[in-house]
């Protein structure tokens, strides 16, 4: 088959997949020129959903804006609109050989994870001790939230010391000296002073003077945001190695008297670090690489969690746990399905899921809804508490530990998904 026809077939398949997802099960696929609106197959609500899901699948937001014509409402018109606008070959999935060589041929680059590390607060506090501290009825954290132990820092530990420990482990695993770092990208939802986390890490690791630093926000989505930013920085050919680090010490901020125990009691202290590098040779095929990143913000759910530092130092908290849980579950499910759509890789092919974990009960609901196998979802919140931006990082480290035990041929993709106040969301797919 000539390449042009092959391309049309690939686009058509994608359009049909997105259309089928919006139609009731068993609906017969319309003909090429059947108008979806006129035949009442779709209303305007569903038409928008179908077109947006095609844009998501192609990782091309606003694709249909470029067509300078009314939105397509038939299979043929949609395929044509995509062909006119989308210049790159439609390639999805691990089947399309995502190797450094194949990426380079297309003028792209592949970013791999060369090392990772974790550090947790050295003190283990049982959930019933935490309930007692906050004056919570027994069972609030243990039975309702499902937390067993919270990890907390000792008096000699803080965000920077945890981050340093995690970073040194990651650098050691990568076999890199801190002297090779081009960027340090940090995120923390608890270190609010200056020097910031990234700057403090630069000092602690004695990174070279030319190594730049950046702090990224996003609270629980912070780590995913950092990975996205780091991947973009590799677009500069001179950038070879980036350290991403997260660290959160909630136990000094969310204390009894400042916040209700139903909120403050959920959190623990921890850090994670990842050494990212541009993949350059066959040896690099053995490592996990970032295949896709997605993210966004839906202010619809912004009131479910709002945390503000008042001028008198008190914490203003607006926390609707029930609303937050529902929105978080919905959103994590959608992040996973969007990553599937973008990559063409189904969740059943995954080797691990590193997801944000507000509390273990919410994780159970997410597992039920998304049909993720529990043994592929590293449990962080149950034994550490919610670690904020580091929850995803610690979960990803655990997933990498497990998945890299296997040979490269047997290794499966890792889905990363997180949500944070705003409501922000982010997802990354590693292959």
């Amino acid at each position: 088959m000539d390449p042009q026809n092959e391309e049309i077939l690939r686009i058509r398949k994608l359009v049909e997949e997105c259309l089928r997802a919006a139609l009731p099960a068993g609906t017969v696929m319309p003909g090429d020129d059947d108008d979806w609106i006129e035949t009442e197959l779709l209303d305007s609500m569903k038409l928008v959903d179908v077109l947006v899901s095609i844009e998501t699948a192609l990782s091309f937001p606003n694709l249909f804006d470029q067509t300078v014509a009314p939105p397509p409402t038939t299979i043929r018109a949609t395929v044509e609109a995509i062909r006119k606008t989308y210049r790159e070959p439609i390639e999805r999935g691990i089947e399309s050989a995502q190797t450094p060589q194949s990426f380079e041929k297309r003028g792209r680059y592949l970013v791999e994870i060369a090392g990772w590390g974790v550090a947790l607060g050295s003190e283990r506090i049982t959930a019933d001790q935490v309930e007692h501290e906050f004056g919570l009825p027994p069972g609030t954290l243990t039975k309702r939230a499902g937390i067993e132990v919270i990890r907390r820092v000792s008096t000699s530990e803080n965000e920077v010391s945890l981050a340093q420990a995690a970073a040194e482990t990651a650098l050691q695993m990568a076999g890199f000296s801190a002297q090779r770092l081009d960027w340090i990208i940090g995120t923390s939802e608890t270190l609010l002073g200056f020097p910031s986390l990234a700057a403090s890490m630069h000092t602690k690791l004695l990174a070279p003077g030319t190594c730049r630093v950046l702090d990224v926000g996003g609270a629980c989505v912070g780590l995913v945001n950092c990975l996205t930013v780091a991947k973009a920085f590799f677009g500069d050919d001179r950038v070879k190695c980036i350290l991403v680090v997260s660290a959160d010490v909630h136990s000094r901020m969310l204390v009894p008297g400042r916040v209700p125990g139903e909120f403050g009691g959920l959190f623990g202290d921890g850090a994670s670090a990842f050494v990212l590098r541009r993949a350059e040779g066959a040896e690099d095929d053995k490592r996990y690489a970032i295949l896709a990143s997605i993210g966004g913000c839906a202010g619809t759910f912004s009131s479910a969690l709002q945390v503000r530092l008042s001028s008198d130092g008190s914490i203003g908290l607006n926390f609707d746990g029930d609303a937050l849980a529902h929105a978080a579950v919905d959103r994590i499910e959608r992040v996973i399905s969007d990553l599937e759509t973008i990559s063409g890789i189904g969740r059943e092919k995954a080797g691990g899921f590193a997801i944000h974990q507000p509390n273990p009960r919410i994780v159970e609901i997410i597992l039920h809804r998304t049909q993720m196998p529990p043994d592929k979802v590293p449990q962080v919140a149950r034994s550490c508490g919610n670690l904020g931006s580091s929850t995803c990082g610690v979960a990803l480290s655990m997933a990498l530990d497990e998945c890299t035990k296997k040979s490269r041929d047997e290794r499966r993709p890792i889905f990363v998904a997180s949500v944070g106040p705003g409501m922000l969301w982010g997802g990354t797919l590693l292959v």
């Binding site: 919006a22 209303d43 305007s44 609500m45 928008v48 959903d49 947006v52 899901s53 300078v68 709002q306």
Partner: protein, 236 residues
């Protein structure tokens, strides 16, 4: 006979949907006059802000469309100004947060966009007003769909509401004839400048009847101030 102050005339898939305000003890409540044998009006001979007397009787409408009333013998009895209409709307069903709009939480579309829906068994009503901080329009899928993003006073946003308000849709059509592909830029600059400083800036959000999957999607039923013909001249 019940006198309704017509507050919404919206364009739905099967025709026009009309809502009016019934006065009761200084307050107002929304009622949806339904023509016999249909959920929607093929034609509606009155305008927004008209006072219309109807012979109303309860309808077999299903929750959350509790405002539905079977109607007959409609007759115009007067009209009010746009400012007076908004005054009345502010004394009808209002909410300052998304959850309070329909007494339940909303859910994000699972399929692609940023549209939101409610579970019909959770919602207590199908229309509600709210004060808005800001608005922007999207014409990405025009003419099939116009979408609006609203920021509420609570800081929450509704990011992709289908605009079903007949007057706004008609106005968009007129603007499109005038400016073509620049319609989105035009709305984002000129139209927004007319809307945001207005003391009667106010929105009414409705929920559609359940779709084939049983979901009720949120829509922008009314946006005040209403578009004005003279804006088109100013656009030139």
């Amino acid at each position: 006979m019940t006198e309704l102050l017509i507050s919404e005339i919206t364009l739905m898939q099967r025709g026009l949907c009309v809502i009016g305000l019934e006065r009761s003890d200084g307050h107002f409540r929304s009622l949806r006059p339904i023509p016999p044998n249909s959920n929607a009006w093929k034609q509606f001979p009155y305008r927004r802000a008209d006072k219309v007397a109807f012979d109303l009787s309860s309808s077999p409408g299903i929750a959350p469309h509790v405002e539905d009333r079977l109607s007959a013998k409609d007759r115009k009895s007067g009209s009010v100004t746009e400012n007076e209409l908004v005054d009345c709307l502010r004394k009808a069903e209002t909410a300052s947060s998304i959850k309070d709009l329909f007494g339940c939480r909303v859910h994000l579309s699972k399929r692609g966009g940023l549209a939101v829906y409610v579970d019909p068994s959770d919602a207590i009503r199908s229309i509600c007003g709210c004060e808005i901080e800001s608005i922007s329009f999207s014409f990405r899928f025009y003419p099939e769909a116009i979408r609006a993003a609203l920021a509420l006073k609570s800081g929450e946003t509704l990011d992709s509401l289908p605009v079903v308000d007949c007057e706004w849709r008609e106005f968009a059509g007129d603007v499109a004839k005038q400016v073509g592909n620049q319609i989105e830029d035009c709305f984002d600059s000129f139209v927004k400048k007319q809307l945001l400083p207005s003391p009667i800036r106010f929105a009414r959000i409705g929920i559609a009847r359940p779709d084939r999957e049983g979901l009720c999607w949120l829509m922008l039923d009314s946006l005040f101030p209403l578009p004005k013909k003279h804006w088109l001249k100013e656009l030139k």
